[in-house]
């Protein structure tokens, strides 16, 4: 891993996220009550987090397929590393999501389709890691996890679609995010946050992969020492 890349990514994410915070809280005016007021500021971090966690799970999906095709452990490592980071962003997303609910509807939890979709998604990838912990043989673990990762990722569109269905029954559409109508400053804030989070995701992934490869090194070194003693 190139140290320089890590620093650059780190710098990008820190600067972009700091500037975006400045933009969100200082530059941007508070929008009018009709447009949900101060709570709208959540949106600028909420949406990038959603997209990143979705992307992270897609990476898991693709890496799982590649693993089954090539049987190379580096894809398995990529798959579960990305899933772990996807879960981290998923948790962040849930924090923003339930706050949004509280502000928009006055309760911490509504069965908002997006929230439900992500709740299911978190459970799915929680199950993914539970499955991994239940298989000790490395090859089998990777194979099973890859199959379940594919199933879990296939579940995302179904889950999104079917949770939309409850929505149509329980609540008529209360609010649609498309109605925001972003102006110039809003777009800048959103793009900055998005760039910062993307850099952060790549950075986290690189660190996580590095950690996993170092753990591999530890095993190899231990084996070498043991084989010398024999």
């Amino acid at each position: 891993m190139k140290k320089g890349v890590v620093w650059v990514l780190g710098a990008i994410s820190v600067v972009a996220l700091a500037v975006s915070l400045y933009w969100i809280f200082v530059v941007l005016p508070i929008v009018s009550r009709e447009q949900t007021g101060f709570s709208q500021k959540i949106f600028y971090f909420h949406m990038p987090a959603a997209i990143i966690s979705f992307v992270a799970f897609m990476v898991t999906f693709i890496a799982s397929i590649l693993f089954l095709a090539k049987k190379d452990f580096k894809y398995d490592i990529l798959a579960y590393s990305s899933a772990e980071i996807g879960l981290v962003f998923g948790v962040v997303l849930m924090i923003f999501g339930i706050t949004w609910d509280k502000l928009a509807w006055g309760v911490w939890w509504t069965w908002d389709p997006r929230l439900v979709t992500y709740l299911i998604l978190l459970f799915l990838f929680g199950a993914y890691f539970f499955l991994r912990s239940m298989v000790s043989e490395r090859m089998k673990q990777a194979r099973f996890a890859a199959v379940f990762g594919i199933i879990a990722a296939l579940d995302v569109p179904v889950s999104f679609f079917s949770t939309r269905l409850i929505k149509n029954v329980l609540h008529p559409v209360i609010f649609s995010r498309e109605g925001f109508g972003l102006d110039m400053n809003m777009t800048i804030a959103l793009l900055l946050a998005f760039a910062g989070m993307t850099a952060l995701y790549v950075l986290m992934l690189m660190l996580k992969l590095k950690v996993e490869h170092m753990m591999e090194d530890v095993h190899v070194l231990k084996d070498m020492i043991e084989s010398r003693r024999d």
């Binding site: 299911i120 239940m134 043989e137 099973f144 199959v147 179904v158």
Partner: protein, 227 residues
């Protein structure tokens, strides 16, 4: 041709074994009836017309009961160490999936043939009868979904340390987005029973899910069976 012959041999063997022991059917039947009794006492104090919660009760009962059967779908191979025997046969792994899937589907449907009328007798008023055909279609789609993804996940879980403990953890979150349209559609039939136009969206969702997961199981089965 070969695949059909082999699939049929596996299926017939599983049916024969179950007919001899009847252990899965007996436990599933007891479970589903007791679940209904408990549901009655849980809901009846507050809800006058149990038909309004009927769809939820039905699918909760069926989903959890199906777990019992799915967990047992490999019990003979695993407990009697016959899995190697099956794997040594010149048979496509996808064929094993198809046979096990059809077997599970058959067992679950058999159970429902008995359990659902009992359920209807206990909880439902007759208003859904004109739409019986739609109701049966929902049951059919639900069973295909449960058994499609269940067969694949049961094979995974029986090969792990946790064995049958793992199946609910894997199976339920995968099933939730499908149980939602199943429950909604069933509820619609139980309580409204007039215009069927809205029903089609739910049926499509279930059908898409069914196809997706049966195909996934068929394609991915090679990776989950055996060591």
């Amino acid at each position: 041709m070969t695949a059909i012959r082999q699939g049929w041999a596996i299926l017939r063997k599983d049916l024969l074994l179950e007919m001899r022991s009847k252990e899965v059917f007996t436990s599933q039947f007891l479970f589903v009836v007791m679940a209904m009794v408990i549901f009655y006492f849980a809901f009846s104090p507050n809800i006058k017309n149990l038909t309004t919660v009927g769809a939820g009760m039905l699918w909760v009962a069926i989903t959890f009961t199906s777990l019992l059967g799915l967990n047992r779908s490999f019990v003979h191979e695993k407990d009697e160490e016959c899995l190697d025997g099956l794997l040594l046969c010149p048979v496509d792994r996808a064929t094993i999936f198809a046979a096990k899937f059809i077997g599970n589907f058959f067992f679950l449907t058999t159970l429902e043939v008995i359990a659902v009328p009992i359920f209807a007798f206990f909880f439902l008023t007759g208003t859904f009868l004109p739409n019986l055909g739609w109701f049966l279609l929902i049951l059919l789609l639900g069973n295909v979904g449960i058994c499609g993804v269940g067969t694949l996940l049961a094979t995974i879980s029986m090969n792990t340390r946790a064995r049958d403990l793992l199946l609910p953890v894997l199976f339920l979150p995968v099933m939730v987005p499908v149980i939602i349209p199943m429950v909604l559609a069933t509820n619609y039939i139980f309580t409204q029973g007039e215009s069927m136009s809205e029903l089609s969206v739910w049926l499509y969702t279930m059908a898409i899910f069914d196809i997706m997961y049966v195909v996934a199981g068929y394609v991915l089965y090679d990776f989950v069976i055996g060591d």
